[in-house]
Subunit: 270 residues, 2 copies
């Protein structure tokens, strides 16, 4: 099954455009988990089990695992999602970008080692740096377009001949890179007008939208700007606001509560 | 000691602008190493020991380790370089790029976990995505500018108001991001005219130049275009042409021979 189909199915089954981002920061873990060798896996697996019927996707952020020498816990976590919650796609948030021979290795890392269903990729090095990911036609390739951070404007907002750089990226992906219908784009919730602009350019291509919750993006504006005609086409990501909703041993129940509220708040505007 | 100082010292001591890229592809290893659990470490350590007096830096490419679940071998390799060849800087080629809170984790990965002296970073997400690396003032931060692959032109060659995007990146780094004198730039050897243009923009900032050897860049043109007034300021990278110069148990001696020829060819034009 392709990532795009898997995403559409999970969106429908769980009536959800919510993507839960798994950015495990051990310093914020509840007391009872600290010091455990598999604390990162344990924390994330509990969050996953508590929210799997509320999401359209999970998005582990590899930096949080790599900083803590926790690659094996990341492998175990993705295997846990696939076996306990089949049908929920896993997006490996890695933002890789390199020349073809190296990108082939990164594609092996994401798709064969970690068995992710999709990976985020940086477009700065151009089409041939993305081809090795596109060579897995059943996998999703999610290109950075307009990122949620303030500094995103430094390059992405430059005028490149009548349009902004992020608009050019959106256009390139929609018209040239998405030959297999497997691409998606990252567009930050902190800029709803730009979500609308990207939607206008790319038709029904899915958008991964970080920036609600801790980063302050507005849910109503995001959904109205980014939804497709049938009320879908969005993976609205929340990480910290859900992961760290509770600070004690009931953290997973607290996370579920916030995830449910967030899903429902999103659905109000679809 | 800062990366910049370490690089200058190694350049002088070894009379070398050659950076050996460590991109270990097990399929290309000599027969006697195959199947060994630590083959990746063993192969790279032998290359390092055979060439350490000929280089200004080593550059392990993390994708080749990550694709093979070899993070521990990468840690061991960098530790091996630091303890057996002190003073030779290690550049972790990772091309990371993410929002600040995630970039902090990547900086921990590169500088604290792997103990690299410098890391390559993608500028697409802008200044605040680079700040967490700059927060380690003794470390090198090497920004992608004009990459050696053909698709590099897709975005980097766009006109952003009288200059190309890669020129804007060079200017931003030189005038705004390099407050601690710790930045360098990646400029591919496949485009000597653009190396010259970047040199013109950035003054004496070091340039990491991939693309000679297997990628076909011209050594004379590269050196003439990129050297600073004192014949330095370059880390000219070769990976495959050196690593896989020999195919048998004498591979390290073969690598040394090609590394020496390459260093000397570079020095002809300094």
């Amino acid at each position: 099954m392709t990532f795009t189909r898997m995403l559409a199915n999970a969106t429908q089954k769980n009536n959800s455009l919510l993507c839960v981002g798994l950015d495990p920061d051990p310093a914020k873990f509840p007391e009872h988990l600290r010091g455990r060798d598999d604390a990162i896996f344990g924390f994330c697996a509990d969050i996953v089990d508590a929210t799997a019927d509320l999401v359209c996707a999970f998005k582990p952020q590899i930096a949080y695992f790599a900083a803590h020498r926790a690659e094996e816990q990341l492998e175990a976590l993705i295997a846990h999602i696939h076996s306990n919650h089949p049908g929920i796609p896993v997006i490996l948030d890695a933002k890789r970008g390199d020349i073809g021979s190296t990108a082939e290795q990164y594609a092996i890392e994401a798709f064969e080692r970690y068995k992710a269903d999709a990976v985020t990729v940086n477009p700065y090095m151009g089409r041939d740096s993305v081809d090795p990911y596109l060579a897995y036609p059943e996998k999703g390739v999610i290109l950075l377009c307009r990122t949620s951070n303030l500094g995103g404007s430094d390059l992405q907002f430059l005028d490149v001949g009548g349009e902004k750089l992020y608009e050019r990226v959106a256009r390139l992906v929609a018209t040239e890179w998405n030959r297999n219908g497997q691409c998606a784009l990252v567009v930050g919730a902190t800029f709803p007008a730009e979500i609308a602009r990207v939607r206008e350019i790319v038709g029904d291509i899915p958008l991964l939208v970080p920036g609600i919750g801790a980063q302050g993006g507005d849910i109503e504006a995001t959904v109205r700007a980014g939804r497709t005609a049938n009320g879908g086409g969005l993976m609205i990501n929340s990480s910290r606001a859900i992961l760290f909703a509770g600070k004690d041993e009931h953290f997973a129940a607290s996370a579920r509560k916030v995830a449910q509220e967030t899903r429902d708040a999103i659905n109000q505007y679809r």
